[in-house]
Symmetry: C2
């Protein structure tokens, strides 16, 4: 098969790789119908995270089940499936608690499983899926191709934005600030609107992202940052910070921004992968009674909650994709996102 | 009046101070019926926190309203009242949000109000209470003296333990670990039991405190600390940490203990005043999807929730008091707590 391999900073190639096959009774092999590039893929691309050896990359895909192992009962050959960005067994205590990202049988596509075996990347033609019953979600009917972008967001960004909103305690009537205008931040705006937030302030300096934020339900946009950004938020909210602030970047600066925009007694939901080592200042949290929650999003259980709204068209999260390229042009997809010419790029292995 | 003044480490004196009087229309003057010594009072007593100038001390009291200003409508002369450890106006946006400890008109007894005026300490005969309507809670009837210790816990420790439990998301059926066996930690055990926790593990190395923890609802006691303590907790809970861990100390070590005892996706409630600068490691929180919440407890609204259970005898939080002394012996009260001869000392200004 053809699949994407990262060799080092700026070095993304599509190569011939062995066709995946069922290796264990719980495996499925899925033919990838659509994949995409994630903001976190840019970290090794930019050299922020080191690539010690070439490896497959990409962790978001939807596709069709091609083959199943003898132990698989939850999906059948021919099913159209959504794959969360991690595999999980669905049966351990952490899965039972809804934290599939802490599953004892865990792995991220393109990385390694907890048993040490290498996993295919999602930016390719096929993926072997261990623990298929715990991992894959079959769409009830074969979806129309117009739904593909929206369904693909369930693999990561929509679930991650939803995790930010849930962790940040967004509810009916909440005031919300979203820090970060990438695909996850925009998805957090959408998720907040879906949960009934009354006021949603998107912090963004880019016109196209501001427009999409408003389309997703943002009531206000704040372009300022730092102290000016906090002052602008407080002016919009009658002199105090927001009930809920969603941190969707992961830098020290964005966390500081988020902490400053949270009202006393408010909640900060974080899903930005911590870059470097931002730490949370206890005395500040203590004096203001802040609640801070979040992490790597357990999107698997969220798919059950969000899929009906995607299928019904109640939400259109796939609008975060503003460029579609064939798999063979994946290097262009990375550079377009790196240079901010695209918010998020959809990849079509069949094109 | 007679009132306690701290002059420096180990130097606690009862002195003659001016009788408080109504200074503003919203003031009340309360005659103190019972006061007590808090674990946090030991910080300046031990020199951990500097005492730059002598000042009145003590922040927990119950008493009888002696005089009210012309603007006070919520309490009447003769009412038996509970005073939270902070005053608050009850009308600002933060009070409306339930975070009375962030009130724009805030002050802690023995310290200064936000307008800069000095506040009487609670370890004395009388206290002037600004914003009496927002601050004081009148008990419906004159309580029997046997209820005094229980009512006094509503001023701080019971509300603070309850805040730990609420912040730590304790609910029906939860597994809970309480780090800290002082009066607040013991109150957190009681609050967790009241909220329906199924399993409550008290971390304590002192026999008398272990006994009281069990009486308050602890199902298990773990005497080990550090990695051994975490291992003991996990052994009790089937291999994982607790749903809720309540940090009731405030040191770097106790926070590390609490973080280590929280299961993936679990909640950590903290009410221990941060000593030094423990900071929260973001990558750890992120990878385990932890929720961390807490701070200086807004006990004023909690009194409404907890008072009925105190009056009915459903809970007996005043058992944390294991020594009662007359006000004139307040120095003995401090040394008894400093030397761990007492968990918490009740002071009787009328004795």
């Amino acid at each position: 098969m053809r699949a994407t391999v990262i060799h080092g900073p700026g070095d993304i190639r599509v190569e011939d790789r062995p066709d995946p096959r069922v290796e264990a009774p719980g495996d499925a092999v899925v033919r990838v119908v659509r994949s995409c590039v994630c903001g976190s893929d840019l970290w090794p691309y930019r050299g922020v995270r080191e690539t010690t050896a070439p490896h497959p990359i990409g962790h978001e895909f939807i596709g069709i089940v091609e083959e199943i192992g003898s132990g698989v009962t939850g999906v059948r050959v021919g099913d159209f499936v959504i794959a969360p960005f991690t595999h999980s067994d669905g049966t351990c205590v952490h899965c039972a608690n809804g934290i599939t990202t802490s599953c004892v049988n865990f792995g991220v596509w393109g990385g390694k499983s907890t048993d040490g075996s290498a996993l295919d990347g999602a930016q390719g033609e096929y993926v072997r899926v261990p623990f298929a019953d715990g991992t894959l979600v079959a769409v009830p009917e074969q979806p129309d191709a117009t739904l593909y972008p929206h369904l693909l967001t369930l693999a990561d960004v929509l679930g991650t934005g939803h995790h930010a909103a849930r962790s940040g305690n967004v509810r009916e009537g909440s005031t919300v600030v979203v820090v970060g205008d990438g695909a996850v931040g925009l998805s957090a705006v959408l998720a907040s609107a879906r949960l009934g937030a009354e006021r949603i302030i998107a912090m963004s300096r880019h016109g196209d992202r501001q427009d999409l934020a408003r389309r997703f339900g943002a009531t206000d946009v704040v372009a300022e940052r730092g102290k000016d950004g906090i002052a602008a938020v407080e002016e919009l909210l009658g002199g105090i910070g927001a009930d809920s602030v969603l941190e969707c970047v992961g830098t020290k600066e964005s966390m500081r921004q988020a902490l400053g925009a949270t009202r006393p007694g408010g909640s900060l939901g974080f899903v930005g992968v911590p870059a470097g080592e931002p730490e949370l200042p206890m005395p500040y949290l203590f004096s203001r009674n802040l609640r801070v929650a979040g992490g790597i999003a357990p999107v698997r259980p969220y798919i059950d909650e969000l899929l009906p709204d995607v299928l019904s068209g109640a939400i259109a999260p796939g609008l975060v994709f503003d460029l579609t390229l064939p798999l063979e042009q994946v290097a262009d997809a990375y550079s377009a996102m790196d240079e901010r010419r695209a918010i998020k790029v959809l990849l079509d292995p069949g094109a």
